[in-house]
């Protein structure tokens, strides 16, 4: 009973497999913390690279994989203004991230994307920007920050508040130093009480409390918040209290995903697919969602 | 069977707060389905007959059910054995559950777990394996290994990995089942071939000496895979080799997972 492999209706266009990724080469890898690593990934050819950057807008995500292990969702952590390669930053949490972490320079992984919506930065020209990030959630905002800094003249003031549990948990330390040194960026770093080292020169305190102390005026300012659920939960009320409108406050949702293309059915919040309608949402949108865990 | 008395007892348990929830059976479109009674005045919906084969002890692993402890369960002897075994495996405290005991067309009243244990040992100490299942096991044992493998391959080919068997079984209470572990991946996730074989056989082995032969897994299987052939065979082996009588002694140690210096070591070569 061997199945007849003849197809009655011959496909009229080229067969495409939307689940088939492209191979990417690890061009560089960097340890951000003890368990967080950044990979710099080069495209297999100019055609793939061009196709990606024609589509890519900041805030979108991809699926990074290792054949035999599986795929994982992370944001693209590098901006569309830097078109020679892309970067991703992830914490080792399971089978796939362990395999990705073990890749050495010159070795390959797989990639699908870019997927999802993006931050509407073209609508933010001339506006001030406030970035609030916690721990391992800096990567999505890092892509926006570099996107803005690479087009610095088009935007107003840039303020960044970044916090982590301890000094050791701060990611992108060399870039933090670079942002700190710029006179057109206002960077405040903080660690949770007890997480400081002897030579720590930043703040000591939880992100929501430090935000209340250092936040810029809300007028003409877009706020972007990414962090662990508990940080988001306590930061959003502070932003609201400071006068940042919910419609101008952005965050990303990171629900479990498999397909990334609106089919596998697990990332939905209400009728919205985080993989299609997100991952970027305004707080105003989140408030209209059932149980968005905010 | 005195159904009126069962309903009356269920209502009284809820009314005087001795139980936060009564789980029994109700009739729906000609079939018996589990019923969850939270108010005394709903107890009249409870029914019971021989078609009520779901093992209600499986519900005790649900956090939202446990929140309503103590829970009273309509339980036939097999289900009482499940409860005793859950206690032996430290999944239940003695006062977590009350039993609305039914058996041999008799309603035995509201029992504590200790009383249910006594009833089991006095009245239901010899629950025979279903005769049809035994006959089918014998038929399989007459087969050559190749024939038997073919039989099981055909059966397991039907498995869709819906895990209804696992869900229906009170003893499948692991928070993360081996079939969902992927570091390493013990069992292929594909609902086909060796993965299906491995899943069904490994589940049976995990129940060796623990299966009380209630039949709920087989009844739950949408595909009609005769799971009790595996379970009853292993139950027989555990009984013959290790005197395993799961669910009769709330202090008993599990056959697999306990050690005795007199254990037969003849199989180690």
């Amino acid at each position: 009973m061997s199945p007849d492999t003849e197809s009655a209706a011959a496909p009229t266009r080229e067969h495409r497999n939307i689940y088939q990724p492209i191979p990417m080469t690890v061009a560089d890898r960097r340890d951000e913390t003890a368990d967080v690593r950044t990979l710099r990934l080069e495209f297999p050819g100019d055609a793939e690279r061009t196709r990606f950057f024609e589509a890519y807008r900041v805030g979108q995500f991809g699926l990074y994989g290792m054949p035999g292990q599986g795929e994982c969702v992370f944001c693209v952590a590098s901006p569309p203004t830097r078109t020679d390669a892309i970067e991703c930053t992830f914490r080792q949490a399971g089978r796939v991230t362990a395999a990705l972490r073990d890749r050495e320079v010159g070795q390959r992984i797989t990639f699908r994307g870019p997927y999802g919506n993006h931050f509407p930065i073209e609508q933010w020209k001339g506006k001030n920007l406030l970035f609030v990030a916690g721990g391992i959630a800096l990567p999505p905002l890092r892509a926006v920050i570099w996107n803005i800094l690479d087009r610095r003249d088009e935007f107003g003031k840039v303020a960044i508040l970044y916090g982590a549990r301890t000094v050791a948990d701060l990611v992108y330390k060399h870039e933090l130093a670079e942002w700190d040194a710029r006179d057109n960026v206002d960077l405040v770093q903080t660690v949770d009480p007890g997480g400081e080292t002897d030579d720590w020169r930043g703040k000591i305190g939880f992100v929501p409390a430090v935000l209340e102390e250092v936040a810029p005026k809300p007028a003409d300012t877009i706020a972007l918040v990414c962090g662990p659920p508990i940080m988001i939960k306590f930061t959003l009320p502070v932003l609201a209290k400071l006068g940042f409108p919910a419609a101008d406050t952005y965050t990303t949702l990171e629900n479990r995903m498999k397909c990334g293309v609106g089919k596998c059915g697990r990332c939905n919040v209400g009728h919205l697919y985080v993989c299609k309608d997100g991952p970027v949402f305004t707080v105003e949108q989140l408030k209209a969602m059932p149980h968005a865990d905010m | 069977m005195d159904l009126a008395k069962l309903r009356q007892d269920a209502a009284a348990l809820l009314a005087d707060g001795r139980a936060g929830l009564v789980i029994g059976f109700r009739e729906r479109a000609g079939a018996c389905v589990p019923a969850f009674v939270t108010d005394a005045d709903q107890a009249d919906a409870l029914v019971y007959d021989d078609t009520c084969i779901a093992n209600l002890a499986a519900y005790l692993r649900k956090p939202e059910i446990r929140q309503r402890r103590p829970v009273a369960l309509v339980a036939r002897p097999h289900v009482m054995r499940s409860l005793i075994l859950l206690k032996a495996e430290h999944q239940l405290q003695g006062d977590d559950v009350l039993v609305l005991a039914v058996g041999d067309d008799t309603y035995h009243g509201v029992l504590t777990l200790a009383e249910a244990e006594r009833l089991l040992n006095e009245t239901y100490a010899d629950l025979a394996t279903d005769a049809q299942v035994l006959a089918e096991i014998e038929r399989l044992e007459q087969m050559s290994p190749e024939e038997r493998a073919r039989f099981w391959s055909e059966q397991f080919a039907k498995c869709t990995r819906c895990y209804a068997c696992r869900a229906a079984c009170p003893m499948c209470y692991c928070e993360r089942c081996i079939v969902e572990k992927n570091v390493p991946q013990w069992i292929s996730t594909a609902a086909a071939g060796h993965g299906n074989y491995a899943w069904n056989v490994i589940r049976a082995f995990h129940l060796a000496g623990r299966c009380i032969e209630c039949g709920a897994c087989e009844a739950a299987c949408p595909q009609g895979i005769p799971l009790m052939l595996l379970n009853a065979l292993l139950a027989r082996e555990a009984r013959d080799q290790f005197d395993a009588r799961p669910g009769y002694d709330a202090e008993a140690e599990p056959v697999v997972g306990s050690w005795n210096k007199d254990d037969d070591e003849g199989f180690i070569r």
Binding site: S7, I18, Q20, P67, E71, A93, N255 | P63, A191
Partner: protein, 340 residues
Amino acid sequence: MKILDASKLSDLADTLAGAGYRVVVPVQDGDRVRYAEWSPGATIRTDAFPVNSAKDFLFPRSEVIDRYQLDGDDFTPLEVRPPAPRTVLLAVRPCDAASLAMLDTIFNWDYEDDLYNARRAATTVVPLVCTRADAQCFCTSVGGAPDSSAGADALLHPADGGSRLILEPLTDKGKALVEAAGGALADGKAAPDAPADVPARFDPDKVRAWLADNFEADLWDLLSYACLGCGACAYACPTCHCFDMQDEATRTESVRLRNWDSCGFALFTKHAGGHNPRPDQAARWRNRVMHKFSYIPERFDLVGCTGCGRCARLCPAGMAMLEACTRIEEEARKAPAHES
């Protein structure tokens, strides 16, 4: 009019198989009836409800969607092009045929899934009008009917008191099938039997209106107590399309599998970090009802349920979409949705 004796359905299956179709029919298999590939000698059963749905042949329960040759630390992608045999879904239920609108939509609403589409393009759908229904049937409550031609390329009507079948082609694929059937069909006349009487049991719009306002209702706890969290309903459901992707490898080759998955499983939405946005069975069962009766209607202007009733027939715990919906409608009557 093309007709055949009802007892000769297996001859039609034989003829179509001979003409190169993979013929999928409801057959007796042990003590169950299931849709399976026809093989001579099998017993066709149109009088009992199959345990599986027709989706099995368009969206199989496990499928290789990507494949690699592993070479030490590197890999080589291999082409994946699953077979898309010319298939006829013969004498399936109209509620199975109706479910294809949902599957076609989800696999094409944005990205187009060519793995599904290749099989779909090669499939001819020939439902058999139902002349009997059971207590779990509710197609008429969700826009269907026992004689619906939704999704059908041809329709089989029982006729002359069940002794004959009329085969009515509706599309080009249907006409091609009639042609392929050749002598298995005769020209003649027969009087179609009345379709089954399936009373409407609830109004999906009323259910949807209640759902919109009642994400947090206490009723969800009550409705979901019985659910033991398996995938029996989702896997039997003709419209459930959720899947998992899993890699498996030998030393030299790896495959990426697409396996059916279910929102009823606790692990379905659980994050790697341990957090679960649907932490209990009430949240998971609510998603199942919401998805079919609120999210899909809102997103795609379809009802995500065809009223086949398999979920209720197969659930080992007595959960039932029909019962949930009638209960919800009852609730909606008690406390009408806010008019805005």
